[in-house]
């Protein structure tokens, strides 16, 4: 019979992705509701020494699959490794981070073992009666939320957005079993050839792909104030965008313009700094999941489409916000 919750913990170059710890934290709550245990699955090359930390963040045990073929993520060897673990252990639930790797691996595995998979969940619960996993996710750009069940097939599987769940406090005294799980790989498992890995410190600057946009309007006053907005964007892991006026004035490149004659963006957060919110601008950003606006003018139309509006001076608030965001990140790293 299926039991226990398995969290597929992602690592890149031996560094554990934070979403893995977040999912272990969430899984401990779900496991308590089920009266079951939480296991982390760690796949990679020589990653066993990272396993203990996962126990300290709440896992009851860790299953490691190690092999040189697993050094850089490639779908087939990883799918083979994970499928072997799932077939052997028969989990009730398997959770993955909804990263580019998790969203590549999970559907492949779901099809191989013929079970359901729910993408990009933002909420997980155990139904008190049926003990089924309630998987809730946004669709249609976040306008609709859907709760999804996988009643018959096992394991119940979900990818979960990074940053949604909370990791537990690290407890160095926690103990658990670390097991090495052997998978026999063949050269033919490597069915593609990685010619080159290009690592990047800074992602591309396409503002339509950014999850967070710090956007400057006329209210920022001077062209060099975009440097301050850039600093805030860097702290938050986002990009800088602009209203039309600053682009027309030559303060910033045209490809960063949001609005009817610029780009349409749908970030998780649109932070409008000194943007009045003309209808042509709003047309380009109203699909944002969350809008926070800072503007001196309390009648600025941007406030009509904001989740949070601050009537105040950008130049006073943004520097303080940079410091506060740095502090927050340091405290929650």
């Amino acid at each position: 019979m299926s039991k226990d919750i398995y969290v597929v913990v992602e690592q890149r170059d031996g560094v554990i992705a934070k979403v893995g710890r977040e999912l272990i934290g969430e899984a401990t709550k779900l496991a308590a509701d089920l009266g079951q245990k939480v296991y982390a699955v760690l796949i990679g090359d020589a990653v066993r020494d990272k396993a203990q930390s996962l126990i300290e963040y709440g896992a009851d045990g860790v299953v490691c699959v190690q092999d040189p073929i697993l050094k850089e993520y490639v779908t087939e060897p990883y799918a083979k490794a994970l499928t072997a673990v799932i077939r052997d252990r028969d989990p009730e639930i398997v959770l993955y981070g909804a990263t580019s790797i998790g969203r590549d691996l999970a559907p492949r595995v779901a099809s191989r073992i013929h079970t359901g998979l729910t993408a990009d969940c933002t909420k997980l619960d155990i139904d008190p009666e049926s003990k089924l996993l309630l998987m809730t996710r946004p669709a249609f750009g976040g306008n609709i939320m859907a709760t999804i069940l996988c009643k018959v097939y096992r394991p119940q599987m979900a990818t979960v957005r990074p940053g949604v769940m909370k990791q537990l406090e690290r407890d160095a005294s926690r103990k658990g079993e670390i097991e090495e799980f052997k998978v026999a790989f063949e050269p033919s498992d490597m069915n593609v050839v990685i010619r080159e890995v290009i690592k990047e410190e800074h992602k591309k600057t396409d503002i339509t792909e950014a999850k967070i946009l710090v956007s400057g309007g006329r209210g920022i006053g001077t062209p060099d104030y975009f440097n301050t907005l850039r600093e805030l964007a860097d702290v938050l892991g986002g990009e800088v965008s602009s209203s039309r006026a600053n682009v027309d004035a030559g303060w910033i490149e045209k490809d960063r313009q949001v609005g009817q004659t610029g780009k349409t963006v749908r970030p998780s957060l649109y932070l409008a700094c000194g943007i009045s919110g003309a209808i042509q601008h709003v047309a380009g950003m109203e699909g944002a999941e969350c809008v926070i606006a800072i503007n001196k003018n309390d009648t600025a139309p941007i406030f009509d489409v904001s989740d949070l509006g601050i009537v105040g001076d950008v130049k006073v608030i943004v520097p303080k916000l940079i410091e506060a965001a740095k502090k927050y990140k340091a405290a929650n790293a």
Binding site: E72, S100, F140, V197, L269, G287, D304, V311
Partner: protein, 262 residues
């Protein structure tokens, strides 16, 4: 080289409604377009064909109205269009959708299958990899550059923190990002031709050799939507005036925390 592009017709708006009984989306009366990533996939397929030779077949699963998406793909220059349509397919989740499309691919044959990374309505990004698994070919997801090199394809794929330059031999499946190839416009002659071509329709009976009826449609899908709800319409939220800068900053951090942004 036979290139098959799988496309989805999606509503061109976020103004969608749910059927209160089945909890599935009501698509009638909503203007429809070819999903962006898929359209980029069509363009990439056309360029690959022009470079390496072969044909481009465009494949769409959906209701009869999806005909318009297929005509548009023909007008862009695709050689052949196929609609997978049937009552039995309605309500399929990603597993079941991939099973149905895979059955169609087995029937028509393929060397390279291209899908979009994800559709703007469901946003799952699952059907591409699930087709690759079901037909048993390697997948490369999130492709942003593609070229032929002899028998092989060389693609650049994008992850959050890195790119991979990958060599893959057909048969294989690629999932396209919107930035892979900016779609060409239809030209008038193309549109006229598109409406003179026949669109082949594949129904359940055409695919049943490769399809278990118990594993498709609403009933055969591993996952089911049990509840849907719309988020509250976006209106003005909280406006803080006459607060100190520190208080304002604290409110911004709280909001970002609440929305899982920070």
């Amino acid at each position: 080289m036979k290139i098959v592009v799988c496309i989805k017709q999606v509503p061109d708006t976020n103004e969608v409604k749910l059927d209160p009984v089945t909890n599935t989306l009501i698509r009638e009366g909503v203007p429809s377009i070819i999903n962006h990533d898929d359209k980029s996939g069509i363009e990439a397929a056309l360029r690959l064909r022009d470079e390496a030779g072969g044909t481009v077949t465009v494949l769409c699963m959906g209701p009869p109205q999806a005909d318009t998406a297929l005509r548009e793909a023909l007008a862009m220059g695709c050689d052949e269009a196929i609609l997978i349509s049937g009552r039995e397919f309605g309500g399929s989740d990603t597993w079941a959708t991939a099973a149905i499309i895979s059955a169609a691919l087995k029937k028509i044959g393929y060397d390279v299958v291209i899908t979009g990374r994800q559709a703007i309505d469901g946003d799952t990004a699952q059907v591409g990899p699930q087709i690759a698994e079901t037909i048993g070919v390697p997948q490369v997801s999130y492709v942003e550059e593609l070229r032929a090199e002899g028998e092989k394809l060389v693609v650049r794929r994008q992850f959050e923190d890195r790119r991979h330059i990958i060599e893959v031999k057909p048969p294989c499946l690629l999932t396209a990002l919107s930035e892979l190839a900016a779609p060409r416009y239809m030209h008038v002659g193309g549109i006229v031709d598109a409406y003179q071509k026949d669109i082949r329709i594949l129904g359940f009976d055409d695919l049943k050799d490769d399809l278990n009826p118990d594993f498709i449609g609403l009933k055969g899908s591993p996952t089911n939507v049990v509840k849907s709800f719309t988020k509250q319409a976006k209106g003005a939220g909280t406006i803080l005036a006459d607060v100190g800068a520190d208080e304002a900053v604290a409110a911004i951090i709280r909001k970002m925390e609440e929305k899982h942004i920070i």
